[in-house]
């Protein structure tokens, strides 16, 4: 462990940036933004460096471990596996994009906007890299503070209440999680010396009953985070009031912690309880998929709508996790990444749209396509990604999840698949009402997407198309992580019902003989 502490550097860069940002000279507001983008790009570079060194088959790697609070058995322990790496890269990619795309969103106080964003980035990266449950919990909760100030400080009227609601849900879930984290300590201490290291905890012999209680605590917290029905109601309010950039950070990065946690902690620490809870979780996931989509269809606020689509998407991710198969697991991990890319694009482009129209209400938009074809095109591509069009990366993950769900129980797959129709409705109806139709006179001269705006979302678009046709890089990273997780849980994929050995070989020439 004398290697260069890449992960610490990765986390430290944005955090240092966050601390420095408020002290930049106020006279030049652009400086703070440039600084933010520079730090975010530097973080991305470190992230790429981590990815380059990553060995696909080596499991948890680049580990760092230092004792932190000895009395609690707490370590400052970091490491990445396939799951963590993908989310780290997603985070590192999205933050510079968000900063560039929402160049003017934080104009009231650019230094604060940049500072909180970078703080959120650093803490999120720490969440994905933490291999100590206590450390995870600490940063998991700590991410809320920058998120709170981003929501409450920037955005639209009513954001204070939205920020409060957000924080209350998250802290509520977090405190429930605290109960389980403490329980984990007690169990760990009962079996020798207490330790919070994931590696040590996975070895614990947790009794069935204790495991289920602890699982419940973890799951509830992650369900609030993810979010799942019925603890999702903070989501719509938050995305509605926050700036689109903030929403990207929230929905595309922060919420991933929920599903990330389900994979890493619920399945990793409580395999028995996870399987025990599967029926309930699957039902909640299905409700989220269908319910989220329906509620999204009924929205008139474009940001709220996009926020609610994520409820549906997180339903898919959760479903994939809890059907326990390689396709489901990999599909979920991929879904996290792809949802991050697609929804980020949708939020950011919606943000451009809102800046131009000065309203978020879909019913007051319309007819913009003619004046701003590029913007409309970007919006459409992002929307198509959201509805899972083949050829764009979300399709691959959605397909894998549906496949796995169908494999689990055919009717689960059948219910989940309705999500793709509903997705088509909410995306296309939104597009229809915002972009198409006769062009109102006040819209005629609207400026099309600027170079900065296009450049900001271009990487997302490229990634969406690239991974739609060639998801192999993502799959290569995700597969080993899922396989080791499933073998830890102790499940294997169902074999096909038709065993090739049972089918008599016949070919065309043989058929001809009839």
């Amino acid at each position: 462990m004398n290697e260069f502490p890449w992960l610490t550097v990765l986390i430290a860069v944005p955090l240092v940036g966050a601390v420095v940002a408020p002290f930049l000279p106020k006279a030049n507001p652009v400086l703070a933004k440039q600084f933010g983008v520079a730090v975010a790009l530097l973080t991305l570079a470190v992230g790429v460096a981590v990815a380059v060194q990553y060995d696909v088959d080596a499991g948890m790697q680049m580990q760092e471990q230092h004792t932190w609070i000895e009395a609690f058995g707490v370590h400052y322990a970091l490491g990445v596996d396939g799951l963590g790496l993908l989310l780290i890269l997603l985070t590192a990619l999205l933050v510079p994009i968000v900063l560039v795309a929402s160049w003017h969103e934080g104009d009231e106080n650019p230094a604060a906007f940049v500072g909180w964003t970078l703080a959120l980035e650093g803490l999120s990266l720490a969440v994905f890299a933490a291999t100590d449950v206590f450390l995870f919990y600490v940063v998991f909760e700590a991410t809320l503070i920058p998120a709170y100030f981003l929501i409450g400080g920037f955005g639209r009227e009513g954001r204070g209440a939205a920020a409060l609601k957000f924080l209350m849900f998250q802290l509520g879930g977090g405190l429930v999680l605290l109960g389980s984290v403490i329980g984990l300590y007690v169990v760990s201490a009962d079996q020798g010396s207490p330790s919070y290291l994931l590696g040590d905890l996975a070895q614990l012999d947790i009794s069935t009953e204790a495991g289920r209680w602890l699982f419940a605590g973890f799951f509830i917290a992650f369900a609030v985070k993810a979010p799942l029905f019925p603890v999702h109601t903070w989501l719509a309010d938050t995305t509605e009031k926050a700036t689109p950039g903030t929403s990207v950070l929230l929905v595309c990065v922060l919420d991933k912690i929920g599903t990330f946690g389900m994979l890493r902690f619920c399945l990793g620490l409580f395999p028995e309880a996870s399987q025990w809870a599967t029926p309930v979780v699957v039902v909640l996931a299905l409700i989220s998929i269908v319910y989220g989509a329906f509620v999204a269809i009924g929205q008139d606020d474009v940001l709220r709508l996009i926020g609610l689509t994520s409820l549906s998407h997180f339903g898919f991710i959760t479903l994939g996790i809890f059907v326990f198969s390689t396709q489901g697991g990999t599909g979920s991990i991929l879904y996290m990444v792809n949802h991050g890319l697609g929804t980020a694009a949708l939020f950011l482009v919606a943000g451009y749209l809102i800046r131009r129209r000065g309203t978020t209400l879909i019913s007051q938009m319309g007819g913009l396509e003619k004046a701003t074809p590029v913007l409309a095109g970007l919006f459409l591509v992002a929307g198509l990604a959201t509805l899972g069009l083949p050829g764009l990366s979300p399709f691959v993950s959605e397909f894998l999840v549906i496949l796995a769900a169908f494999d689990y129980r055919w009717y689960v797959g059948a219910v989940a698949v309705t999500g793709i129709v509903l997705a088509a409705i909410y995306v296309l109806w939104m597009y229809q009402r915002t972009m198409t139709g006769p062009t109102p006179p006040e819209v005629e001269g609207t400026r099309d997407a600027s170079v900065r705006e296009v450049a900001a979302v271009a990487p997302l678009m490229v990634a969406l198309v690239l991974f739609g046709f060639y998801p192999a890089p993502l799959l290569d990273v995700a597969n080993p992580a899922v396989e080791s997780l499933l073998s830890h849980v102790g499940v294997s994929d169902d074999p096909p019902t038709v065993d090739p050995a049972d089918v008599p070989p016949h070919s065309y020439s043989e058929g001809e003989a009839h």
Partner: protein
């Protein structure tokens, strides 16, 4: 009958002796120094005294010898009346640090334009000529410093008391000066005096119960020594009714001091009415001392009958957390909100008290109940002193602006002060990376280890409620446009002198450091070991 000279361990008792000595010196200063010079000499005297006591405490702590198998350290001093063991020394250290903070806040004169926050002449009627004269002449009640020192002395003695009589005396010694200090506010005298009256009457009432408990336990055990009481409890002697009624009444006296439900009624009124500097000192110091005494009484005196009194504490803890947190939501006054918050914290601390006490029942390196409570008291003290100190800064034309409405938008006007206040609130709420989180973690853990999961679940539920009002307040400061209320006035931050600033900085540093690297202090608390009997 031979006269045996009592052995007094002067060295080990030096912190106590220093504090009481300084207090008496302070009285002499009042008596003999001219008025103009009293302020400076009193401030210097009490600060130096506290620092000296602190140094002595450290020295005593370092020197403390091991007892028995090494799980505990210390000695029983002064013929069994004072127990100088690890927890005592730790608590002494805490009390002295926060008392020093109290002195700093007491001595602040810049906020009130050159006078202290205490009434120039307590006996003078507000709004009379005498009062005005006192004001213009810059008169101060410098008696507050000796009073403070006496209270500190009582606080030091309280958790270290080895018998019930000492404990009672210590209780009174710490209480009586506080009653007086409460009534000495320069502004809002009516409220201040009312608070003092209530505090006094209820305090005396509750100490009556405490004393009756002392009598009954004496009747049960035939001695007031905690050690002998423990022996009697173990021996399971006759008259269990005496024991339990006695335990109950003793508990009432202590639970009153810590502000546990249903003995909390005085807390909000007194916290609100007292001068904020006094509130800060009182909230931190009293709670630490009283919890120390509570722990000692229940662990040492009645530890053998844990299953007898724990259910009662379970209920009290649950009620305290829930009611403290719930009532804080509806408050409209900052100090009152903090008072209810302190009630909720009493509940959390009681949760810790319910934990496993004996290190032998725990795994190697597992957190003990005592360690958890001691650590929690540390974090709570820092955050409380810091929060109240900031309350003294936020003012409008009528002095401190304690009405919550006035704080709206403070984050825009004074981001630094509001940010620091928010940080203290977050620590009180137990958000990670603040000291409060580690403390909360510790007390919940020990309770869960002892199987008190219903209490822990309630604690989590009330934490969620508590978080709500802390976070609402942060929202108010940062994201609410000030409307100024009926008077159309908003509060602003008055820049304090070095004294208050120092107090705030110390509290902030403590909260930050304990949140990020709690290890050393936790180790210190663990190092303190067990109570000795």
């Amino acid at each position: 009958m031979d006269f045996t000279k009592p052995t007094i361990e002067y060295a080990e008792l030096s912190p106590l002796l220093i504090v009481f000595g300084v207090a008496i010196l302070g009285v002499l200063v009042e008596a003999f120094l001219p008025r103009e010079r009293r302020y400076l000499s009193q401030v210097v005297l009490s600060s130096v005294g506290l620092v000296a006591a602190l140094v002595a405490t450290v020295w005593v702590g370092v020197d403390l010898g091991k007892v028995g198998d090494g799980a505990a350290r210390g000695l029983v001093a002064a013929e069994g009346t004072v127990v100088v063991d690890g927890p005592s020394v730790f608590l002494w250290g805490l009390i002295l640090v926060f008392a020093l903070g109290g002195v700093l806040l007491f001595a602040e004169r810049r906020l009130e334009a050159g006078v202290s926050v205490f009434a120039g002449q307590a006996a003078a009627l507000p709004g009379t000529e005498a009062e005005r004269q006192a004001s213009t002449r810059g008169l101060d009640h410098t008696e507050v410093y000796p009073l403070l020192m006496f209270a500190v002395g009582g606080m030091l003695l309280f958790p270290a008391a080895g018998d019930l009589l000492t404990m009672f005396v210590a209780l009174e010694v710490l209480s009586l000066p506080l009653y007086l200090l409460t009534g000495l506010a320069r502004r809002r005298r009516l409220l201040s005096q009312e608070a003092a009256l209530k505090y006094f009457l209820l305090g005396a009432f509750s100490s009556g119960f405490f004393l009756y408990g002392v009598a009954l336990i004496y009747g049960f055990a035939g001695s007031m020594q905690l050690e002998r009481i423990d022996a009697a409890v173990r021996a399971n002697v006759e008259n269990q009714a005496l024991l339990y009624i006695g335990i109950g009444m003793l508990a009432v006296g202590l639970l009153f001091k810590v502000g546990a439900v249903p003995f909390q009624a005085w807390t909000p009124d007194v916290y609100q009415g007292a001068p904020t500097a006094v509130t800060a000192f009182m909230a931190a110091g009293t709670k630490i001392a009283a919890f120390g005494a509570l722990l000692r009484l229940f662990y040492v005196g009645f530890g053998a009958d844990r299953w007898g009194w724990q259910p009662m504490l379970w209920i009290i803890a649950i009620l305290t957390m829930l009611i403290g947190a719930a009532l804080a939501i509806v408050q409209t006054d900052v100090k009152r909100m903090l008072a209810y918050s302190s009630i909720a914290h009493t509940g959390f601390l009681l949760t810790g008290v319910l934990g496993v006490q004996s290190a032998t029942e725990l795994a190697d390196g597992e957190v003990t109940s005592l360690q958890a409570v001691l650590f929690y008291l540390t974090t709570y003290g820092f955050a409380t002193i810091g929060a109240f100190a900031i309350v003294t800064l936020v003012r409008d034309s009528g002095g401190e602006a304690t009405s919550i409405q006035r704080w709206a938008g403070l984050g825009r006007r004074s981001p630094l002060v509001a940010g620091v206040f928010a940080f203290f609130l977050l620590s009180l709420a137990g958000i990670p990376l603040t000291a409060g989180f580690v403390g909360k973690w510790a007390v919940f853990t020990v309770a869960l280890s002892a199987g008190a999961w219903p209490v822990v679940l309630t604690a989590i539920a009330s934490s969620i409620i508590a978080v709500y009002f802390y976070v609402s307040f942060i929202r108010l400061m940062f994201f609410t446009e000030p409307d100024g209320g009926a008077e159309g006035e908003v509060a602003s931050v008055t820049s304090p002198s070095i004294l208050t600033s120092a107090a705030i900085v110390i509290a902030l540093a403590g909260t930050v450091v304990l949140g990020i690297v709690p290890g050393p202090v936790l180790d210190l608390a663990a190092h303190a070991g067990q109570f000795i009997r």
